[in-house]
């Protein structure tokens, strides 16, 4: 079953993924991720237990998350949340 995951960070040879809505943390060998996968990339992953069977970068999900986060960040920067 394919799931969404995001790369939180790299630690030596590990990539630390946050899986699904509940952001379950999972370390997977960095070399098992697609070439060019970077911190903050969203992935489509296939897992069996904690074993990563496949992973591909989901550019659309990454872009969506980036846009959503930037909008929220800009609102904080403008202080919108302090006004109402």
């Amino acid at each position: 079953m394919k799931q969404q995951a995001v790369i939180d960070r790299f630690e030596d040879g590990w990539a630390v993924l946050l899986i699904g809505e509940e952001e379950r943390r999972l370390n997977v060998p960095r070399k098992n991720l697609p070439r060019g996968a970077r911190e903050g990339h969203w992935l489509q992953v296939e897992l069996e237990g904690d074993q990563l069977l496949s992973a591909s970068v989901d550019r659309e999900a990454t872009e969506q998350a980036r846009r959503r986060v930037m909008e929220k960040l800009e609102r904080l920067r403008r202080g919108d949340h302090l006004r109402d």
Partner: protein, 494 residues
């Protein structure tokens, strides 16, 4: 390495719809200003012995504070104008007189949040500040509550990795937070997005800082040494790096800044010398370069790491470098929360488990035997550890050390596990792994002799029918008539 990764369940914490009565503090004990850095503070000449845990004071009323200064226009690119210490009015005066003589106590708590970072600072006027919050559900909030902290004047996230910001949303929901400071470097994780949501819901002031800024928290001034520009590809290397001078005692708090950043800060010619160093990036070998360590020249270093973490933090290279530099090293994995208390003239270090600094790893090169290794300072007995600490074994004699450096955890049945340790070169070492069914007799667990550098390791296969659980491991080193035992544990996963 084909070992499967480990997992840690993040509890699904759907926040209650009910938004607690978050009282807005319109007054804040914080402000940020741009300015020159103060010169290095000399190391104190006295070091109180590791003592009792720092007193818990009640942080009730917000302290009288400067007005909030906007950051707009502050801290423009600074590299063109290296700061001149000569012009600073805040040169630490001798501890006997002058306005720089602090009054009151400063407390810096390196909170044990497992594999993550969280630092609580209580200023002399009762100011409260939290730097990072560990992963979600790892205890930072409970720790603050246990310290009777009912509000935060300042919350700062060094960088937006999950092991630093995961615990912050719950704190923003649980108590009033006047101001949140970040580096402005976004990421795309849900936990980061939830942090932004929580800041908005809490109606906390939001600010971003960069090199050259100063964060004022009552009488405490934090110099922001990094980042120079608030964007970059590697989040660790955009960490906010802070230096705090408190009378004659100073602190350097580098988040997860790695060697590249250390070099960048050193090249900026800003003073970095500090009495107390929070070791960068959980003691990873990716941080704490020789030049960085030399420039800071700390007396005490504290790293924050989870026992048996998957990344081998702290790395033996880092521990060896700190030991070689004669630094007293504490780690949250072996000591629990570490609290530094200072009156500005001296300081004391207290640990939740009551143990003293780590024994230095055995000297890398077997030079003249005894003097090469600094003797282990006497372990304090003021605080009786109620819980058996993973490595709370009796202090070893001065010339026989044993430190468990890493252990695989979690390991799935059928997979290989490895334990590495540092001991005195030539020591006879043995290991016992205890499962539900009894002691393991796996091959690879035979007694061994440490090599000329004191390194030793065992690798074995966890049986495919081994019962999942947390299982104790005991390592013993013997040299002549001395022996030392260290306990740890590892997790056999389902």
């Amino acid at each position: 390495m084909l070992r499967k990764g480990d997992t840690t369940m993040c509890s699904i914490m759907r926040w209650p719809v009910f938004v607690a009565a978050v009282i807005l503090l319109t007054l804040s004990a914080t402000g940020v200003a741009c300015g020159a850095s103060a010169p290095a503070a000399p190391k104190p000449t006295q070091l109180a012995a590791p003592a009792t845990t720092a007193p818990a004071k009640s942080a009730s009323a917000p302290t009288a504070v400067p007005t909030i200064e906007s950051l707009a226009g502050v801290g423009e690119p600074t590299q063109a104008q290296p700061q001149e210490p000569a012009a600073t009015p805040e040169t630490p005066a001798p501890p006997t007189e002058g306005p720089a003589v602090p009054t009151g106590q400063l407390e810096v708590h390196i909170i044990d949040v497992g594999q993550g970072d969280s630092i609580f600072i209580r200023g002399p006027e009762g100011q409260t500040m939290l730097i990072d919050g560990g992963s979600e559900g790892t205890g930072a909030l409970q720790y603050l509550q246990g310290q009777s902290v009912d509000h935060l004047d300042l919350m700062l996230a060094t960088h937006p990795h999950e092991d630093h910001i995961g615990g912050l949303p719950a704190i923003l929901k649980a108590m009033p937070v006047a101001r949140v400071v970040m580096n402005g470097q976004p990421t795309t994780t849900r936990i980061y997005e939830r942090l932004l949501d929580a800041i908005a819901a809490a109606k906390a002031e939001y600010q971003e800082v960069k090199r050259g800024d100063r964060i004022q928290l009552g009488s405490l001034t934090f110099d922001v040494l990094h980042p120079a520009v608030p964007t970059g590809p590697n989040l660790n290397n955009q960490s906010i790096v802070l230096r705090l001078i408190w009378g004659q005692v100073s602190f350097l708090l580098p988040g997860d800044a790695e060697r590249e950043t250390e070099g960048d800060i050193l090249a900026s010619s800003r003073p970095v010398a500090a009495t107390i160093l929070k070791v960068g990036h959980h003691g990873s070998r990716t941080a704490t370069s020789p030049a960085w360590l030399k420039a800071i020249s700390p007396a005490v270093a504290i790293y924050s790491a989870g026992a048996g973490n998957s990344y081998g933090h702290p790395h033996p290279e880092t521990l060896a470098a700190l030991a070689t530099a004669g630094v007293q090293v504490y780690g949250t994995d072996v000591s629990g929360t570490v609290v530094i208390t200072s009156d500005g003239a001296g300081y004391s270090v207290a640990t939740a488990k009551g143990n003293g600094p780590r024994a230095p790893p055995a000297a890398p090169q077997p030079v003249p035997p005894a003097p090469a290794v600094a003797p282990l300072p006497p372990a304090p007995s003021a605080v009786a550890p109620a819980v058996p600490a993973p490595t709370a074994a009796p202090a070893p004699s001065a010339d026989l050390a044993l430190q468990i450096v890493s252990v695989s955890s979690p390991v799935r049945p059928g997979a290989r596990a490895t334990l590495t340790a540092q001991t005195t070169p030539g020591a006879q070492c043995s290991i016992a792994v205890q499962y539900k069914s009894g002691p393991s007799s796996a091959s690879g667990l035979e007694p061994k002799t440490a090599d000329a550098s004191g390194n030793i390791s065992w690798s074995w296969t966890v049986g495919s029918t081994t019962t999942p659980g947390t299982w104790p491991i005991t390592a013993t080193a013997r040299l002549g008539s001395n022996s030392v035992t260290r306990d740890t544990s590892f997790v056999v996963a389902r």
